[in-house]
Symmetry: C2
Subunit: 687 residues, 2 copies
């Protein structure tokens, strides 16, 4: 039987070898945390290497993602489909062992990490997911949802503000099955942390209602006891400070920042091997040590046992089991489509009789209600702007610390961890999270949204108050550059609906987009229902016999379409608009038409979707030959050059907004029908 | 003599009246914090209403900026140039009383606030500025730098993660003259905060080495004592929890979220007037109450006294006084220009003999050293990536908690508060802050950078590791959308130099740009010195008899210029590039030229600067008639449509990066000379 130290040293050796081979990587943290990992994985982790997607597995998040090679070593040794060849190919193109852990690429990697602090937020999301699902589905004698979430964090994670947002919320929500191990090595890239990180971390977490503990991070028995203690406390998350030596056992670099981010070099690696008594050549792991790590049999048994439990549960509670399985598969209750269509039908009928402006936020909330009713996986919330953004539908049930069986969460004024928590909820499975804040404050959460996109997570941000239409709150609250910032993130779909029908289409689009996050960008102000009599419908293939309503919705869902075709022949000028500026474009078109100009109005509620349409559709909507194009959006201008080119014009914001009533600002900044008409006419004249 | 309550109620009345008048605003916090403001301003604040820029004034930051009308009321009452008319015009276009406080618009407003939590970070920056300057300039018997920084924060500020970053750093740096008053009303927009904010805030701040205290926020005497206590503690910042009732004395809305963000309504305002015994009509303040607030005389005396002190100081320490005054005026030591020019001259000489690739980060550090030596106002730092980004020049002196007399700061892994702290340092005066991190992590600090731009703060971010050139660290660390995100913020100048000379020009550009923040975007990889024999020089007006070196640098500083003109006549195709892709464009041009193509290479190191050039320059660089244009940048593509239009091509990133060695990735993603040549030729063929 190999000793615990030998088991840990196997991971150390693999880590050092892989980094040397790649001539790139971060040895310090993997070496320092190897004992923590060994104890956690060999004594506690419930997981099945043969099925990394087994639902009831314990979750593990490596928040200090630069220690990736430690995780790869552990996954390899415990029997995941991650070969030694992959370890040898650390950090190479097309390997399963990239520089930082990437969800979806490597079996057993539960989250993409690296941007510090966010792993802690995602782990909190996973622990919350477990708590909510347990409350929803567990029954006396049937703990079908019952696992821990473990997380490793480094000093850097704890310096980042998001660590506090996560700690505060996790403490408030009593996430007792969240257990965090802090690699307390006292070293960050700039050196010993005393000069910039002197806080009493344990006291801080205690202040947030965490259970805290401190152990020697190189003492397996102490680690085991601490984790065992933490597992018994169910009303508070746990933080275990593990005092470690970064880079141990590298003879001269251990305990120093030099061991953090660059290969140790042959000499240090040799010395480290000597110091830990590791006598095997690079990449060689003796079979008895492999056996000590191998979790395949125990994992298989664990899953089998759970499968049996679930079978009995399904017999006793067939309805619950059905919903449970649907949620895990991410399936929708089929009725949702009908509800959405019914809403749209009603709107279209209303359009005939009235075109009264409608609060888009209120309407979005109505759509949300229609959808949520039929989608138990939807989990809403807001960063303290519940009513303002219309995030809570009328039937929502609040999640509280003592009653987690709900579908609406109060995140507090914490946009960043809202994003990270949503990522964790989504990664866990069983949830399509959505949350609302003001568009301008998505800046605080930007990096979490980027991770959502990198991990292809389906989640939805409701981002209201989307322009100078915010009015009196002024420039700090008026987005200018946020739309183009969101549009620049690969894989994010940004919807900016211009009327209620587009709002329905946007929600459906977001719910149908399973490969990444969607943003629903809504104005503060109201919007009229737009006349669609001259809308050009697309060919519908998705539905066999589409109703008129479906035809409209599915055309909108192409992301860009002709809302109002010109009277005859080809358009002389095309007006492109989104959101609250769309009705200005329609009004301008009416005036231009009265002046005998052939004008087309193109609505572009989701440019990302539009870009995915066949070139025939895109060229039909924006014929390459028509160069007199005016784009109008109460936002930054550069983005629209993509559609108007060098010959067109953009009416947009050149700088920040101002504090004044909305209508004054629209006038002041030139978002008027008159300006649009004038700009279009000028374009036509100069041609 | 009016009572303290009457004084506070005057502010309350003005706040309510202004909000009613505007039919817009946030009454809850101003009403709740009026007593705190009254005690602070009437008993403690050292300030001179007649000169809001008096250097040695106490600083005040309203971090919960939605309470703006309270600050305006206080400034108005204490005698600032802020008339009653302005109060009446609260939240109207062109008033000095916008929805949230805006620096530069309203005398006495020290910072633009509203995005929650950032005010605390800025206040910490101001307190740090005071501490550094005091250590640098004060002499026995001459405390020429000696003021407090006060800050009001709300629950929302303390929920935001940045509050922890600020608290931790302020505690570590022992900012003893930072005094924070927390409007502890237990209400945020979603209601009583218990469900999402249950942490023990005082304990958290204690864990960060703060002095903490708790008082009744409506008890002037208790407030006075607590502030007096805090002022005596000089080795720790202070947090005073002021228990208040939001919206007091509104009869039915006090203590409720309803009082937060909408006018109270006539009835509530009437009731509030009754409850606080305020018998005057709207906007009327009796003269004895005005007298109680008036700080003009005491302010004048305070400044006079300080002026005298400084006069004596200047006689005793003329050298120090001179530098002190230069720093406050933001002036440079004239020698800096020569040093920069000398560096450039040396480079140009080297170019003749060698074109060895040069580490841009190392070179940037060299430039920085040459400049810092002559600019005592430059205060550097990094969010724990000092060496990686080349932020610390060799002569830098570290700022430590016990020796603040330095010019280099270790921010720790806290990008967001790095941005906020720099804002505070800059707002205080005496500093041009710069700090470094990886480009991808500027996402964490985005909102602070936005505020820098809104406040026209001159500060510099060094953002290295600027593309897939990051290599093995993979997509989490490889910026894709960050460049376009930065470029979309109004007022931010983004420099992405392509060789060492451009790096010098970028630094000079950043130091010359006094109206906002600059970003210096640098690659991880090295760059060759580019041949400039066919560069087209601009007309130089700034310098009487420019040297050849100056001509080159000043041309680069136009932001976009012809680096390599075609052989004869007009170009058939223009290649536009920045940064690490610039040398690819030059190599591609050589090949195209060998194939008889007339090709021009345009370098665009700072598009924002280029946009500010006269149209003649812009059209000379990018002639409107030449539509065969290819832009290449290892970044998102949409931005470049602005310069290549619908007819050109962009070689850029369509998605996220990958983990692999840099050279592999450049090949993989098509950032090669061959691809550039092919793309250009294809464009020429299809025309």
């Amino acid at each position: 039987m190999p000793s615990r130290k030998e088991l840990a040293n196997a991971a150390r050796a693999l880590a050092m070898d892989a980094i040397q081979q790649a001539q790139s990587g971060h040895p310090g943290a993997p070496l320092g945390m190897a004992d923590m990992a060994e104890v956690l994985w060999n004594d506690f982790m419930a997981h099945n290497p043969a099925n990394p997607r087994w639902f009831n597995r314990d979750r593990f998040v490596l928040s200090n993602g630069h220690a990736s090679i430690l995780l790869y070593a552990v996954l390899h040794l415990s029997g995941y489909d991650l070969s030694l060849e992959e370890i040898r190919n650390f950090r190479q193109l097309d390997s399963k062992t990239p520089g930082h852990p990437e969800y979806g690429l490597t079996p057993g990697v539960e989250a993409t990490t690296g941007p510090l602090g966010q792993g802690l937020g995602m782990a909190a999301g996973m622990a919350l997911a477990e708590k909510i699902l347990a409350a929803r589905f567990n029954r006396e004698g049937f703990k079908v949802v019952d696992h821990y979430t473990y997380c490793f964090v480094g000093d850097g994670c704890l310096m980042e503000g998001i660590s506090q947002e996560a700690a505060s919320l996790a403490g408030t929500l009593k996430l007792g099955k969240l257990i965090v191990l802090w690699d307390n090595n006292g070293i960050s890239i700039d050196g010993p942390v005393g000069g910039w990180f002197s806080e009493n971390v344990l006291k801080r977490f205690e202040a947030c209602s965490w259970q805290v503990d401190e152990v020697d991070g190189h003492d397996p028995e102490a680690l085991r006891k601490a984790i065992a203690r933490a597992r018994k406390i169910h009303d508070r998350p746990s933080l275990i400070s593990c005092k470690t030596i970064i880079g141990w056992p590298a003879p001269s670099k251990q305990g120093k920042a030099e061991s953090h981010g660059a290969p140790l070099g042959e000499e240090e690696v040799e010395g480290a091997r000597r110091q830990m008594g590791w006598k095997y050549p690079p990449f060689e792991i003796p079979s008895e040590i492999r056996l000590g790590w191998d979790a395949r049999l125990s994992g298989q048994q664990a899953e089998k046992k759970w499968n049996k439990l679930f079978e009995t549960y399904a017999k006793a509670f067939p309805a619950e089991a059905k919903i449970f399985e649907e949620r895990l598969k991410g399936e929708f209750v089929p009725e949702w489509r009908d509800e959405a269509l019914e809403l749209a039908r009603m709107l279209l009928a209303e359009e005939e009789s009235s075109s009264l402006p409608l609060s888009m936020r209120a309407f979005s909330r109505k759509v949300l209600g229609a959808l949520c009713r039929n989608m138990p996986a939807l989990l809403g919330g807001s960063a303290d702007l519940t009513a303002s953004v219309g995030a809570r539908w009328e039937g929502a049930r609040d999640i509280t610390p003592d009653n987690p069986d709900g579908d609406y969460l109060f995140y507090g004024v914490r946009e960043f961890v809202t994003g990270a928590l949503m990522n964790g909820l989504s990664l866990h499975g069983g949830f399509i999270p959505y949350a609302g804040t003001f568009l301008v404050f998505v800046d605080y959460a930007k990096s979490a949204l980027r991770l959502s996109a990198q991990m292809n997570r389906q989640l939805i941000w409701i981002l209201s108050h989307d322009s100078i239409g915010v009015g009196e709150d002024g420039p700090t609250h008026q987005p200018v550059e946020q739309l183009s910032s969101l549009r620049s993130i690969p894989g994010v779909q940004v919807w900016r609906p211009g009327d209620a029908l587009e709002c329905i289409a946007a929600w459906i689009g977001a719910l149908r987009y399973g490969d990444g996050p969607s943003c629903l960008v809504l104005p503060r102000q109201s919007a009229p229902n737009l006349n669609r009599k001259r809308m050009v419908l697309g060919e519908i293939k998705q539905v066999a016999e589409p109703t008129p309503t479906e035809k409209i919705l599915l055309t909108i869902r192409r992301g860009g379409y002709i809302l109002r075709e010109c009277k005859k022949g080809d358009p002389e000028v095309i007006l492109i608009a989104t959101g609250s500026e769309l009705s200005l474009a329609v009004a301008a078109a009416e005036i231009l038409e009265a002046r005998e100009v052939q004008v087309r109005v193109v609505s572009m509620p989701c440019a990302e979707f539009f870009e995915q349409q066949p070139v025939s559709w895109r060229n039909a909507v924006l014929p390459p030959a028509v160069r007199a194009r005016v784009a109008i959006e109460a936002s930054g201008m550069d983005y629209w050059r993509k559609y108007v080119g060098l010959d067109g014009a953009v009416i947009g914001m050149r700088g920040f907004g101002r504090s004044a009533p909305m209508s004054v600002l629209y006038q002041y900044f030139g978002f008027t029908v008159e300006n649009l008409v004038k700009t279009a006419e000028k374009l036509l004249k100069t041609r």
